[in-house]
């Protein structure tokens, strides 16, 4: 029994770590701008595509840092061009702008790739096969959760102990007051986008190594799931987003294997097709959370002011 479940749990933890890296970008941006950055998942996809193209023309030790820098620049530019002009506009307009950016990036990727599946380059060492607990998997599956936790600890240290971190906390608490206190909110927001896209770029390397390739819509589903993870953990809270992401990753992976697990266990005798619901389950979880605890696991309660 344990032997059938274990591989799913391990791959779930790995996927959860990758979602966590994307979810932090969502939760930080939402914490500060109150905006669901719909383009975040697509930035993640672009990071994957850039890696595909650059690995073909230059050595990996140049391609990886360059890819991360360009992705961060893309995230920065999206904020500059598409969100900053709408700072005083109603929230709905900004959200529509985010959807527009996502549509643009996907179409651009479709044009450049011709809609074909691009094979992700094998990154030495992390895509090697290793054997853990008697099961074979790629090394990236094992590394991901540890790398995620290290990055999150660094991020929490940054937010709690540096000047820019303090500014971020102030801006997320109250946009206008922090402006009056002399915080340059535009810089803080740019910094948020830079950190978020940096983590998404790292996450894309880990994510796509385990998948056959990148297509223009590859970013949409992981993006949505990471957002759900952020809501689940309480939007605006970084540890919340990480825990939410791990829960969603493990649950999703278990549901993908639920047919096999139940058959081995003897509960059912034929395939029921639970795997169809591996994506949908995330949203069931989201709706349950929103209905019973709208602020998520670690979110702060807000009250409406008239």
């Amino acid at each position: 029994m344990a032997k059938t479940i274990l591989p799913y749990v391990i791959s779930g933890i790995s996927v959860g770590g990758q979602y966590a890296l994307i979810a932090i970008g969502y939760t930080m941006v939402y914490g500060i701008l109150r905006l669901i950055n719909f383009a975040h998942g697509d930035v993640f996809m672009v990071a994957g595509l850039m890696m595909v193209y650059m690995a073909a023309s230059m050595p990996l030790y140049i391609a990886i840092p360059l890819m991360i820098i360009l992705t961060v620049f893309l995230g920065f530019m999206i904020e500059r061009v598409a969100y900053r002009p709408l700072r005083t506009a109603p929230r709905m307009s900004v959200m529509i702008s985010a959807i527009g950016v996502s549509y643009l990036i996907q179409n651009l990727a479709l044009y450049i790739t011709g809609g074909l599946n691009k094979n992700y380059p094998a990154i030495p060492w992390i895509s090697d096969r290793v054997t853990v607990f008697g099961m074979e998997t790629s090394r990236v599956t094992i590394i991901t959760p540890f790398l995620t936790i290290v990055l999150v600890v660094l991020l929490v240290l940054l937010i709690n102990h540096t000047k820019i971190g303090m500014a971020m906390r102030a801006v997320s608490l109250n946009f206008e007051t922090s402006q009056l206190m002399g915080i340059r909110i535009n810089n803080v927001i740019s910094a948020t986008f830079i950190i978020g896209t940096f983590l998404a770029a790292v996450g894309s390397m880990l994510f796509f190594t385990n998948y056959p390739g990148v297509v223009p819509t590859s970013g949409a589903m992981p993006g949505l799931k990471a957002f759900v993870a952020a809501v689940f953990g309480g939007i605006g809270s970084i540890p919340g987003a990480v825990i939410g992401a791990f829960i969603i990753g493990i649950a999703e992976s278990l549901i993908k294997g639920l047919d096999t697990i139940l058959i081995v266990h003897g509960t059912i005798t034929e395939q029921i097709g639970f795997a169809t619901f591996s994506d949908a389950f995330t949203f069931v979880l989201l709706i349950i959370v929103l209905v019973f605890k709208p602020t998520g696991l670690f979110g702060e309660k807000t009250t409406d002011k008239v």
Partner: protein, 388 residues
């Protein structure tokens, strides 16, 4: 005095708009008879067909997003329910076994057939109509169930929850255990489609393949306009402008939000059914969240909170992507031949850039919150002022 004048004016304009609508329908009917598939202008009919599908979808989304202020992103899900309901109930029994290749079809009758057995040819039309209305009702029913928990949420939480529901609906319809009803992840086909819609009067055959979807969309949009101009519509707008104030004025928030949500979903279901009949296939994997985003962008293009804007926006969107900008994909555009740049997908890139420009710099869209009839009224007022 002024109010009396206004209401008189409004009556006049409403008669005027009705006349315009009738003229428009007559033109569509005329085009339907005279443009043959070989004609260069046949694209116009395609645009009218698809445009009317999207126009209804956009208007129904606008009812929710623009008039009630409920930012919902579940439209593709409700359209999917509509498309499947329509398709399942209009597949002729002779074609069932070929459509449901891998399953044992559970539903073995179709409305057009059942009714035509009783009433003759008129029954076929009635059957299609019943299937379309049932499509809307199914979507509205699911919307009611979904609305119970979800409508309590605010702005972006509502958006993401409805988006999630659309994804769940899509997964359920693709589930192999429901195969006998939904055909699993395979597509549904062979049902009543617009290209087969014809009317035989004596010896002359009248083609109705464009007229029918345009007519359904027109009637539905008129109903939505009536709703928006009623007391319910005013209640919706007040909820949009300020929920707390609306509640203080005695508007039952939960009830009005639910009405708006179910009515919007009803028409989303109808537009889904229309989409099935225009495209002549229905497949769950087509109704992704990208479809919702496209409809939302049409609404934005036309102006959030303007029904005529949504109609114009969606026809422009469809015409540009299906017809005018085709050249961008196939090598030659406006006489410029550059196959290296103008290749597959370029059209959508240009298109999304145009949309981003609208979103960023012309936030009001084409119409803002005005309707076409408002424009006429303004002009009349100005003319009167000048005469004085």
């Amino acid at each position: 005095m002024k109010t009396i004048n206004d209401s008189r004016n409004r009556q006049k304009t409403s008669w005027g708009s009705l006349l315009l609508v009738l003229v428009f329908l007559a033109i569509v009917f005329y085009l339907d008879q005279n443009i043959k598939p070989t004609n260069k202008m046949f694209m116009l009919l395609t645009v009218l067909q698809k445009g009317s599908v999207y126009a209804l979808a956009a208007v129904s989304m606008n009812l929710l997003n623009g008039y009630t202020g409920l930012f919902s992103l579940g439209h593709a899900g409700f359209m999917l329910i509509g498309a499947y309901t329509y398709a399942i109930f209009t597949i002729p029994s002779s074609a069932r076994d070929t459509v449901y290749q891998y399953f044992d079809a559970a539903i073995r009758f179709s409305f057009p057939e059942t009714f035509s057995n009783v009433m003759g040819p008129a029954g076929t039309a009635l059957g299609v109509l019943v299937a379309v209305i049932l499509a809307g009702l199914m979507a509205a029913f699911f919307a009611y169930l979904i609305g119970l928990p979800v409508l309590r949420l605010k702005s972006d939480y509502l958006a993401i929850a409805t988006l999630g529901f659309a994804e769940i609906i899509r997964a359920v319809f693709q589930w192999q255990k429901l195969g006998p009803i939904t055909n699993g992840s395979n597509l549904l086909k062979s049902f009543a489609r617009t290209s087969k819609f014809k009317l035989e009067v004596g010896d002359t055959k009248l083609v109705l393949s464009t007229f029918v979807p345009v007519l359904i969309a027109t009637v539905s949009i008129i109903i939505i306009v009536k709703l928006v101009n009623s007391t319910y519509g005013r209640a919706f707008k007040s909820i949009r402008d300020d929920e707390v104030a609306a509640e203080a004025m005695g508007i039952n928030l939960a009830r009005h939000k639910m009405i708006s949500f179910t009515v919007s979903s009803f028409f989303a279901g109808v537009s889904g059914a229309m989409m099935a009949m225009v495209l002549s296939i229905a497949q769950a994997s087509n109704f992704k969240s990208a479809m919702t985003y496209e409809i939302l962008l049409m609404v934005v293009l036309g102006g959030i909170g303007s029904i005529s804007g949504s109609v114009i926006g969606s026809f422009l969107f469809v015409a540009a992507s299906e017809w005018w900008l085709r050249g961008l994909d196939s090598g030659t555009f406006l006489g410029i031949n550059a196959p290296g740049v103008f290749r597959n997908g370029f059209r959508l890139v240009v298109f999304s850039i145009i949309i981003m420009i609208v979103v960023l710099f012309f936030r009001k869209g084409i119409m803002g919150e005005k309707e076409i009839s408002d424009l006429f009224r303004d002009r009349k007022k100005k003319a009167k002022g000048a005469a004085k």
